[in-house]
Symmetry: C2
Subunit: 203 residues, 2 copies
DNA sequence: ATATTTGTTAACCAAATGGTTAAACTATAT
DNA sequence: ATATAGTTTAACCATTTGGTTAACAAATAT
Protein backbone atom coordinates (compact mmCIF):
# COMPACT_ATOMS: atom_id res chain seq x y z
CA UNK A 1 0.00 0.00 0.00
CA UNK A 2 2.02 2.96 1.34
CA UNK A 3 0.69 6.12 -0.25
CA UNK A 4 3.12 8.31 -2.15
CA UNK A 5 3.52 10.65 0.82
CA UNK A 6 3.09 14.18 2.09
CA UNK A 7 2.50 16.87 -0.56
CA UNK A 8 0.18 14.60 -2.46
CA UNK A 9 -2.45 13.97 0.20
CA UNK A 10 -2.74 17.64 0.98
CA UNK A 11 -3.55 18.43 -2.64
CA UNK A 12 -5.88 15.47 -2.84
CA UNK A 13 -7.83 16.81 0.11
CA UNK A 14 -8.03 20.29 -1.33
CA UNK A 15 -9.32 18.96 -4.61
CA UNK A 16 -11.98 16.84 -2.94
CA UNK A 17 -12.93 19.67 -0.61
CA UNK A 18 -13.30 22.00 -3.56
CA UNK A 19 -15.75 19.67 -5.24
CA UNK A 20 -17.86 19.11 -2.17
CA UNK A 21 -17.85 22.67 -0.83
CA UNK A 22 -18.69 24.16 -4.18
CA UNK A 23 -21.53 21.75 -4.71
CA UNK A 24 -23.03 21.92 -1.22
CA UNK A 25 -21.70 25.04 0.44
CA UNK A 26 -20.06 25.37 3.84
CA UNK A 27 -23.11 24.19 5.78
CA UNK A 28 -24.17 21.39 3.47
CA UNK A 29 -20.71 19.88 3.11
CA UNK A 30 -19.74 16.90 5.27
CA UNK A 31 -16.19 16.19 6.34
CA UNK A 32 -16.77 12.48 5.84
CA UNK A 33 -17.83 13.01 2.25
CA UNK A 34 -14.70 15.02 1.55
CA UNK A 35 -12.56 12.29 3.08
CA UNK A 36 -14.32 9.61 1.06
CA UNK A 37 -13.94 11.57 -2.15
CA UNK A 38 -10.24 12.01 -1.44
CA UNK A 39 -9.97 8.32 -0.60
CA UNK A 40 -8.40 8.93 2.81
CA UNK A 41 -9.19 8.81 6.48
CA UNK A 42 -11.23 11.60 7.99
CA UNK A 43 -8.53 12.33 10.54
CA UNK A 44 -6.25 13.43 7.74
CA UNK A 45 -8.48 16.40 7.03
CA UNK A 46 -7.78 17.66 10.50
CA UNK A 47 -4.14 16.74 10.34
CA UNK A 48 -3.63 18.98 7.32
CA UNK A 49 -6.27 21.66 7.83
CA UNK A 50 -7.10 21.62 11.56
CA UNK A 51 -10.85 22.06 11.14
CA UNK A 52 -13.73 22.50 8.74
CA UNK A 53 -13.59 26.28 8.74
CA UNK A 54 -9.91 26.41 7.82
CA UNK A 55 -10.35 23.81 5.11
CA UNK A 56 -13.23 25.81 3.76
CA UNK A 57 -11.20 29.00 3.76
CA UNK A 58 -8.43 27.26 1.84
CA UNK A 59 -10.95 26.30 -0.82
CA UNK A 60 -12.51 29.73 -0.84
CA UNK A 61 -9.23 31.60 -1.20
CA UNK A 62 -8.24 29.22 -3.91
CA UNK A 63 -11.40 29.98 -5.85
CA UNK A 64 -11.08 33.69 -5.31
CA UNK A 65 -7.49 33.72 -6.47
CA UNK A 66 -8.68 32.28 -9.76
CA UNK A 67 -11.36 34.91 -10.13
CA UNK A 68 -9.36 37.96 -9.12
CA UNK A 69 -7.02 38.05 -12.15
CA UNK A 70 -10.03 38.02 -14.44
CA UNK A 71 -11.35 41.14 -12.80
CA UNK A 72 -8.02 42.86 -12.74
CA UNK A 73 -7.95 42.46 -16.48
CA UNK A 74 -10.81 44.87 -16.85
CA UNK A 75 -9.94 47.14 -13.97
CA UNK A 76 -6.21 47.65 -14.40
CA UNK A 77 -5.56 47.30 -18.08
CA UNK A 78 -4.57 50.34 -20.14
CA UNK A 79 -6.58 49.82 -23.32
CA UNK A 80 -9.71 51.89 -24.01
CA UNK A 81 -12.96 50.95 -22.31
CA UNK A 82 -14.54 49.53 -25.43
CA UNK A 83 -11.66 47.17 -26.02
CA UNK A 84 -11.58 46.13 -22.39
CA UNK A 85 -15.27 45.39 -22.40
CA UNK A 86 -14.92 43.20 -25.46
CA UNK A 87 -11.96 41.31 -24.12
CA UNK A 88 -13.37 40.85 -20.67
CA UNK A 89 -16.71 39.59 -21.89
CA UNK A 90 -15.17 36.99 -24.10
CA UNK A 91 -12.46 35.94 -21.64
CA UNK A 92 -14.71 35.83 -18.64
CA UNK A 93 -17.36 33.66 -20.22
CA UNK A 94 -14.67 31.25 -21.40
CA UNK A 95 -13.20 31.23 -17.93
CA UNK A 96 -16.49 30.44 -16.24
CA UNK A 97 -17.38 27.73 -18.67
CA UNK A 98 -14.26 26.03 -17.31
CA UNK A 99 -15.04 26.81 -13.66
CA UNK A 100 -18.81 27.01 -13.55
CA UNK A 101 -19.16 26.72 -9.79
CA UNK A 102 -16.90 29.60 -8.85
CA UNK A 103 -19.10 32.68 -9.14
CA UNK A 104 -22.03 31.16 -7.37
CA UNK A 105 -19.83 29.71 -4.69
CA UNK A 106 -18.16 33.02 -3.95
CA UNK A 107 -21.33 35.06 -4.03
CA UNK A 108 -23.19 32.59 -1.91
CA UNK A 109 -20.63 32.28 0.84
CA UNK A 110 -19.99 35.99 0.87
CA UNK A 111 -23.64 36.62 1.50
CA UNK A 112 -23.67 34.08 4.27
CA UNK A 113 -20.58 35.51 5.91
CA UNK A 114 -20.34 39.23 5.12
CA UNK A 115 -17.29 40.04 7.23
CA UNK A 116 -15.46 37.43 5.20
CA UNK A 117 -14.84 40.06 2.59
CA UNK A 118 -12.90 42.22 5.00
CA UNK A 119 -10.12 39.67 5.04
CA UNK A 120 -10.11 39.68 1.25
CA UNK A 121 -9.94 43.45 0.97
CA UNK A 122 -6.80 43.49 3.10
CA UNK A 123 -5.02 41.44 0.49
CA UNK A 124 -3.02 43.83 -1.73
CA UNK A 125 -4.03 41.80 -4.75
CA UNK A 126 -7.70 42.58 -4.20
CA UNK A 127 -9.10 44.16 -7.38
CA UNK A 128 -9.37 47.93 -7.16
CA UNK A 129 -11.68 50.13 -9.18
CA UNK A 130 -9.72 53.40 -9.00
CA UNK A 131 -7.94 53.16 -12.31
CA UNK A 132 -11.08 52.05 -14.13
CA UNK A 133 -12.88 55.00 -12.62
CA UNK A 134 -10.34 57.51 -13.90
CA UNK A 135 -10.49 55.93 -17.30
CA UNK A 136 -14.26 56.06 -17.54
CA UNK A 137 -14.40 59.63 -16.28
CA UNK A 138 -11.78 60.61 -18.83
CA UNK A 139 -13.56 58.97 -21.77
CA UNK A 140 -16.81 60.55 -20.70
CA UNK A 141 -15.14 63.96 -20.56
CA UNK A 142 -13.66 63.39 -24.02
CA UNK A 143 -17.10 62.55 -25.33
CA UNK A 144 -16.18 58.98 -26.24
CA UNK A 145 -18.75 57.65 -23.81
CA UNK A 146 -22.16 58.87 -22.73
CA UNK A 147 -22.18 60.15 -19.17
CA UNK A 148 -22.16 57.20 -16.80
CA UNK A 149 -20.64 56.56 -13.39
CA UNK A 150 -17.82 54.04 -13.48
CA UNK A 151 -19.43 52.12 -10.61
CA UNK A 152 -22.65 51.70 -12.54
CA UNK A 153 -20.86 50.60 -15.66
CA UNK A 154 -18.82 48.13 -13.70
CA UNK A 155 -21.91 46.71 -12.05
CA UNK A 156 -23.57 46.38 -15.45
CA UNK A 157 -20.61 44.59 -16.95
CA UNK A 158 -20.43 42.17 -14.05
CA UNK A 159 -24.17 41.63 -14.03
CA UNK A 160 -24.42 40.82 -17.72
CA UNK A 161 -21.49 38.45 -17.59
CA UNK A 162 -21.89 36.73 -14.25
CA UNK A 163 -25.62 36.52 -13.72
CA UNK A 164 -26.36 34.00 -16.48
CA UNK A 165 -24.16 31.53 -14.60
CA UNK A 166 -25.36 32.33 -11.13
CA UNK A 167 -29.03 32.11 -12.01
CA UNK A 168 -28.69 29.34 -14.54
CA UNK A 169 -31.43 27.01 -13.26
CA UNK A 170 -33.91 29.85 -13.00
CA UNK A 171 -33.08 31.31 -16.40
CA UNK A 172 -33.17 27.91 -18.04
CA UNK A 173 -36.67 27.49 -16.73
CA UNK A 174 -37.89 30.92 -17.74
CA UNK A 175 -36.40 30.77 -21.22
CA UNK A 176 -37.56 27.19 -21.66
CA UNK A 177 -34.16 25.96 -22.76
CA UNK A 178 -32.43 22.67 -22.03
CA UNK A 179 -28.79 22.25 -21.11
CA UNK A 180 -27.61 22.24 -24.69
CA UNK A 181 -29.64 25.24 -25.84
CA UNK A 182 -28.67 27.23 -22.79
CA UNK A 183 -25.00 26.59 -23.37
CA UNK A 184 -25.58 27.81 -26.90
CA UNK A 185 -27.07 31.03 -25.58
CA UNK A 186 -24.00 31.55 -23.41
CA UNK A 187 -21.67 30.93 -26.32
CA UNK A 188 -23.42 33.66 -28.28
CA UNK A 189 -23.08 36.04 -25.36
CA UNK A 190 -19.30 36.03 -25.66
CA UNK A 191 -19.69 38.68 -28.34
CA UNK A 192 -23.26 39.86 -27.95
CA UNK A 193 -22.91 41.07 -24.40
CA UNK A 194 -20.05 43.31 -25.41
CA UNK A 195 -22.11 44.70 -28.29
CA UNK A 196 -25.00 45.29 -25.95
CA UNK A 197 -22.82 47.28 -23.57
CA UNK A 198 -20.98 49.23 -26.24
CA UNK A 199 -24.16 50.24 -28.02
CA UNK A 200 -25.43 51.59 -24.79
CA UNK A 201 -22.44 53.63 -23.66
CA UNK A 202 -20.85 54.85 -26.88
CA UNK A 203 -21.84 58.26 -28.17
CA UNK B 1 -50.99 32.35 29.38
CA UNK B 2 -53.09 30.54 26.76
CA UNK B 3 -51.94 31.66 23.34
CA UNK B 4 -54.51 33.15 20.99
CA UNK B 5 -54.99 29.82 19.22
CA UNK B 6 -54.57 27.91 16.00
CA UNK B 7 -54.22 30.01 12.84
CA UNK B 8 -51.90 32.34 14.62
CA UNK B 9 -49.13 29.92 15.53
CA UNK B 10 -48.92 28.56 12.05
CA UNK B 11 -48.31 32.02 10.62
CA UNK B 12 -45.88 32.78 13.42
CA UNK B 13 -43.85 29.73 12.48
CA UNK B 14 -43.85 30.58 8.81
CA UNK B 15 -42.66 34.09 9.53
CA UNK B 16 -39.85 32.90 11.77
CA UNK B 17 -38.91 30.17 9.32
CA UNK B 18 -38.77 32.73 6.54
CA UNK B 19 -36.30 34.85 8.46
CA UNK B 20 -34.03 31.99 9.42
CA UNK B 21 -34.12 30.09 6.12
CA UNK B 22 -33.51 33.21 4.07
CA UNK B 23 -30.60 34.22 6.24
CA UNK B 24 -28.94 30.81 6.57
CA UNK B 25 -30.31 28.62 3.81
CA UNK B 26 -31.80 25.16 4.11
CA UNK B 27 -28.62 23.55 5.44
CA UNK B 28 -27.56 26.33 7.77
CA UNK B 29 -30.97 26.80 9.36
CA UNK B 30 -31.74 25.11 12.67
CA UNK B 31 -35.21 24.02 13.69
CA UNK B 32 -34.51 25.13 17.24
CA UNK B 33 -33.63 28.63 16.11
CA UNK B 34 -36.86 28.88 14.17
CA UNK B 35 -38.82 27.73 17.19
CA UNK B 36 -37.05 30.23 19.43
CA UNK B 37 -37.65 33.06 16.99
CA UNK B 38 -41.33 32.14 16.84
CA UNK B 39 -41.44 31.92 20.62
CA UNK B 40 -42.85 28.40 20.65
CA UNK B 41 -41.88 24.83 21.33
CA UNK B 42 -39.88 22.96 18.74
CA UNK B 43 -42.48 20.20 18.56
CA UNK B 44 -44.94 22.71 17.13
CA UNK B 45 -42.87 23.00 13.98
CA UNK B 46 -43.45 19.33 13.33
CA UNK B 47 -47.06 19.52 14.39
CA UNK B 48 -47.79 22.10 11.69
CA UNK B 49 -45.24 21.25 9.00
CA UNK B 50 -44.22 17.62 9.61
CA UNK B 51 -40.52 18.11 8.93
CA UNK B 52 -37.79 20.52 7.98
CA UNK B 53 -38.07 19.93 4.26
CA UNK B 54 -41.79 20.67 4.14
CA UNK B 55 -41.37 23.77 6.26
CA UNK B 56 -38.65 24.89 3.92
CA UNK B 57 -40.80 24.31 0.88
CA UNK B 58 -43.58 26.37 2.42
CA UNK B 59 -41.15 29.24 2.84
CA UNK B 60 -39.74 28.78 -0.62
CA UNK B 61 -43.10 28.71 -2.38
CA UNK B 62 -44.13 31.72 -0.39
CA UNK B 63 -41.09 33.64 -1.60
CA UNK B 64 -41.54 32.51 -5.16
CA UNK B 65 -45.17 33.51 -5.20
CA UNK B 66 -44.08 37.03 -4.35
CA UNK B 67 -41.52 37.10 -7.13
CA UNK B 68 -43.59 35.55 -9.90
CA UNK B 69 -46.08 38.42 -10.36
CA UNK B 70 -43.18 40.82 -10.81
CA UNK B 71 -41.89 38.76 -13.70
CA UNK B 72 -45.28 38.30 -15.25
CA UNK B 73 -45.53 42.06 -15.45
CA UNK B 74 -42.76 42.15 -18.02
CA UNK B 75 -43.59 38.91 -19.76
CA UNK B 76 -47.35 39.09 -20.19
CA UNK B 77 -48.15 42.78 -20.37
CA UNK B 78 -49.33 44.29 -23.66
CA UNK B 79 -47.46 47.58 -23.73
CA UNK B 80 -44.43 48.03 -26.01
CA UNK B 81 -41.09 46.63 -24.95
CA UNK B 82 -39.60 50.00 -24.10
CA UNK B 83 -42.41 50.85 -21.75
CA UNK B 84 -42.28 47.42 -20.14
CA UNK B 85 -38.57 47.68 -19.57
CA UNK B 86 -38.97 51.05 -17.89
CA UNK B 87 -41.80 49.91 -15.67
CA UNK B 88 -40.21 46.63 -14.74
CA UNK B 89 -36.88 48.15 -13.83
CA UNK B 90 -38.42 50.70 -11.55
CA UNK B 91 -40.97 48.34 -10.00
CA UNK B 92 -38.59 45.48 -9.53
CA UNK B 93 -35.94 47.49 -7.74
CA UNK B 94 -38.58 48.92 -5.45
CA UNK B 95 -39.90 45.44 -4.82
CA UNK B 96 -36.52 44.04 -3.91
CA UNK B 97 -35.63 46.91 -1.65
CA UNK B 98 -38.63 45.71 0.36
CA UNK B 99 -37.71 42.00 0.15
CA UNK B 100 -33.94 42.03 -0.19
CA UNK B 101 -33.41 38.36 0.65
CA UNK B 102 -35.74 36.88 -1.93
CA UNK B 103 -33.68 36.77 -5.13
CA UNK B 104 -30.60 35.39 -3.47
CA UNK B 105 -32.62 32.87 -1.53
CA UNK B 106 -34.38 31.56 -4.60
CA UNK B 107 -31.30 31.44 -6.77
CA UNK B 108 -29.25 29.80 -4.09
CA UNK B 109 -31.66 27.03 -3.23
CA UNK B 110 -32.46 26.39 -6.85
CA UNK B 111 -28.80 25.82 -7.53
CA UNK B 112 -28.55 23.48 -4.59
CA UNK B 113 -31.61 21.54 -5.63
CA UNK B 114 -32.06 21.73 -9.41
CA UNK B 115 -35.01 19.38 -9.75
CA UNK B 116 -36.84 21.72 -7.40
CA UNK B 117 -37.70 23.87 -10.37
CA UNK B 118 -39.61 21.08 -12.05
CA UNK B 119 -42.26 21.34 -9.38
CA UNK B 120 -42.46 25.08 -9.99
CA UNK B 121 -42.80 24.77 -13.74
CA UNK B 122 -45.82 22.54 -13.31
CA UNK B 123 -47.64 25.36 -11.63
CA UNK B 124 -49.83 27.10 -14.23
CA UNK B 125 -48.86 30.46 -12.76
CA UNK B 126 -45.22 29.91 -13.60
CA UNK B 127 -44.04 32.84 -15.74
CA UNK B 128 -43.89 32.04 -19.42
CA UNK B 129 -41.77 33.78 -22.01
CA UNK B 130 -43.82 33.00 -25.13
CA UNK B 131 -45.73 36.23 -25.35
CA UNK B 132 -42.64 38.32 -24.66
CA UNK B 133 -40.88 36.42 -27.42
CA UNK B 134 -43.56 37.19 -29.98
CA UNK B 135 -43.51 40.80 -28.96
CA UNK B 136 -39.76 41.16 -29.29
CA UNK B 137 -39.70 39.36 -32.63
CA UNK B 138 -42.47 41.62 -33.87
CA UNK B 139 -40.75 44.83 -32.80
CA UNK B 140 -37.52 43.66 -34.33
CA UNK B 141 -39.29 42.93 -37.60
CA UNK B 142 -40.91 46.36 -37.52
CA UNK B 143 -37.51 47.94 -37.05
CA UNK B 144 -38.33 49.34 -33.63
CA UNK B 145 -35.61 47.24 -32.04
CA UNK B 146 -32.22 46.12 -33.23
CA UNK B 147 -32.06 42.39 -33.93
CA UNK B 148 -31.87 40.53 -30.64
CA UNK B 149 -33.22 37.24 -29.42
CA UNK B 150 -35.94 37.59 -26.83
CA UNK B 151 -34.15 35.15 -24.55
CA UNK B 152 -31.00 37.23 -24.57
CA UNK B 153 -32.90 40.41 -23.90
CA UNK B 154 -34.75 38.79 -21.06
CA UNK B 155 -31.53 37.51 -19.52
CA UNK B 156 -30.02 40.98 -19.82
CA UNK B 157 -32.97 42.63 -18.16
CA UNK B 158 -32.93 40.15 -15.32
CA UNK B 159 -29.18 40.35 -14.93
CA UNK B 160 -29.04 44.12 -14.72
CA UNK B 161 -31.88 44.27 -12.24
CA UNK B 162 -31.26 41.27 -10.03
CA UNK B 163 -27.51 40.90 -9.90
CA UNK B 164 -26.81 44.05 -7.87
CA UNK B 165 -28.82 42.52 -5.05
CA UNK B 166 -27.50 39.01 -5.35
CA UNK B 167 -23.87 40.05 -5.42
CA UNK B 168 -24.21 42.98 -3.08
CA UNK B 169 -21.34 42.16 -0.69
CA UNK B 170 -18.96 41.56 -3.56
CA UNK B 171 -20.01 44.65 -5.48
CA UNK B 172 -19.85 46.81 -2.39
CA UNK B 173 -16.28 45.70 -1.92
CA UNK B 174 -15.26 46.22 -5.54
CA UNK B 175 -16.86 49.61 -5.86
CA UNK B 176 -15.61 50.65 -2.45
CA UNK B 177 -18.99 51.81 -1.25
CA UNK B 178 -20.56 51.56 2.18
CA UNK B 179 -24.14 50.59 2.87
CA UNK B 180 -25.48 54.08 2.38
CA UNK B 181 -23.61 54.81 -0.85
CA UNK B 182 -24.53 51.43 -2.30
CA UNK B 183 -28.18 52.00 -1.58
CA UNK B 184 -27.81 55.29 -3.38
CA UNK B 185 -26.38 53.54 -6.42
CA UNK B 186 -29.37 51.20 -6.45
CA UNK B 187 -31.81 54.08 -6.20
CA UNK B 188 -30.25 55.67 -9.28
CA UNK B 189 -30.54 52.40 -11.15
CA UNK B 190 -34.34 52.54 -11.02
CA UNK B 191 -34.17 54.78 -14.08
CA UNK B 192 -30.63 54.34 -15.35
CA UNK B 193 -30.86 50.63 -15.96
CA UNK B 194 -33.84 51.16 -18.22
CA UNK B 195 -31.98 53.86 -20.12
CA UNK B 196 -29.01 51.57 -20.45
CA UNK B 197 -31.14 48.82 -21.95
CA UNK B 198 -33.18 51.07 -24.22
CA UNK B 199 -30.11 52.79 -25.65
CA UNK B 200 -28.76 49.43 -26.52
CA UNK B 201 -31.76 47.89 -28.23
CA UNK B 202 -33.55 50.81 -29.86
CA UNK B 203 -32.73 51.54 -33.45
C1' DA C 1 -71.24 18.47 32.89
C1' DT C 2 -68.54 15.61 30.18
C1' DA C 3 -66.32 13.51 26.32
C1' DT C 4 -63.52 14.56 22.44
C1' DT C 5 -60.71 16.92 19.50
C1' DT C 6 -57.06 20.31 18.96
C1' DG C 7 -53.05 22.80 20.50
C1' DT C 8 -48.85 22.93 23.42
C1' DT C 9 -45.05 21.50 26.27
C1' DA C 10 -41.05 19.08 28.46
C1' DA C 11 -38.41 15.26 28.18
C1' DC C 12 -36.46 12.06 25.42
C1' DC C 13 -34.04 9.51 21.42
C1' DA C 14 -31.28 7.84 17.65
C1' DA C 15 -28.42 9.32 14.14
C1' DA C 16 -25.17 12.31 12.33
C1' DT C 17 -21.31 15.22 12.77
C1' DG C 18 -16.92 17.66 13.74
C1' DG C 19 -13.21 16.58 16.13
C1' DT C 20 -9.64 13.74 19.12
C1' DT C 21 -6.50 10.04 20.51
C1' DA C 22 -3.38 6.53 20.73
C1' DA C 23 -1.26 3.30 18.31
C1' DA C 24 0.91 1.71 13.93
C1' DC C 25 3.39 2.47 9.82
C1' DT C 26 6.95 4.80 6.75
C1' DA C 27 10.82 7.21 5.59
C1' DT C 28 14.82 9.55 6.84
C1' DA C 29 18.69 10.79 9.73
C1' DT C 30 22.35 9.04 12.86
C1' DA D 1 20.57 -1.18 13.22
C1' DT D 2 18.20 2.31 15.60
C1' DA D 3 16.24 6.50 16.98
C1' DT D 4 13.33 10.20 15.25
C1' DA D 5 10.06 12.78 12.93
C1' DG D 6 6.28 12.74 9.84
C1' DT D 7 2.08 10.25 8.03
C1' DT D 8 -2.03 7.34 8.37
C1' DT D 9 -5.57 4.61 10.51
C1' DA D 10 -9.34 2.70 13.48
C1' DA D 11 -11.80 3.54 17.30
C1' DC D 12 -13.71 6.74 20.13
C1' DC D 13 -16.15 11.02 22.04
C1' DA D 14 -19.09 15.01 23.05
C1' DT D 15 -22.35 17.75 20.98
C1' DT D 16 -25.73 18.93 17.90
C1' DT D 17 -29.74 18.02 15.36
C1' DG D 18 -34.14 16.56 13.40
C1' DG D 19 -37.69 14.23 15.06
C1' DT D 20 -40.88 11.59 18.58
C1' DT D 21 -43.68 10.68 22.66
C1' DA D 22 -46.61 11.00 26.35
C1' DA D 23 -48.81 13.81 29.24
C1' DC D 24 -51.25 18.24 29.86
C1' DA D 25 -54.24 22.30 28.69
C1' DA D 26 -57.77 24.47 26.15
C1' DA D 27 -61.54 24.58 23.15
C1' DT D 28 -65.53 22.47 21.08
C1' DA D 29 -69.09 19.19 20.60
C1' DT D 30 -72.51 16.24 22.89
Amino acid sequence: MARKKDENTEALILEAAKTVFQAKGMDGARMQEIADKAGINKAMLHYYYRNKKLLFEAVFNNAFSLLAPQLKAILNDDSPIEEKVRNFTSDYISFIIDYPYIPNFIIQELNRNPDFILKLKDNPSFPNIDKFKKQVDEEVKQGILRPIRAEQLFINIMALNVFPFVAKPLLKAFTNTGEEAYHQLLEVRKTEVADFIIHSIKT
